[in-house]
Amino acid sequence: MNYQYNIGCSLSNLKGIREFVRNSLKDQHVPEIEMSAIVLALDEMCSNLMIHAHHCNPDHMLELHIHIPVQGKFIFEIVDNGSVFNINEFHEPDLDNLVHQKRKGGLGIRLVKAIMDKVEYLKRDEKNVCRLTKIIK
């Protein structure tokens, strides 16, 4: 099964992304706790991209694809033309350090890596693709 959602890079569109993900997965028997985590991870990835790669320009477009090749396997692809920030190359600061430094935020990448089973980056048709894979047994 395949689903696609195209949106402009405005943070006000994140609500639509969350609804799209929930609606696309609603018949897939995904437990609510997993569903919430998936929605949170995709919201985090899309908002990071909108803010850092597209400076919240609503004229810049972003595509979210959902592919479900077999039951329990979910492939999410975020496709855009912005600059790539590979979260696999980012070393998350230690949690104790974040607390000690009184940092607000800095947990998004840790969250995405913990929720998803795999995060990959690739190029397709001159576009950047961030592919997130989630397996639910």
């Binding site: 919430s36 969250l111 913990a114």
Partner: protein, 54 residues
């Protein structure tokens, strides 16, 4: 998270309670559940806060 250290410095106990399951799960994923005091109910939270402030 930015207030954890400040509360500790000022000796102010903080106990969170009544979290929705999805919120508790997020705290657990992040490891925040290990850093914070979390209980299920308000009476449990008050009891723990009293114990922590001794």
């Amino acid at each position: 998270m930015s207030y954890i250290e400040e509360l500790k410095d000022k000796n102010i106990p903080m106990v969170l309670f009544g979290m929705k399951e999805k919120v508790a799960n997020t705290f657990s994923i992040l490891g925040l559940a290990e850093l914070l005091h979390i209980t299920t109910t308000k009476p449990e939270a008050k009891k723990l806060a009293d114990e922590l402030s001794v």
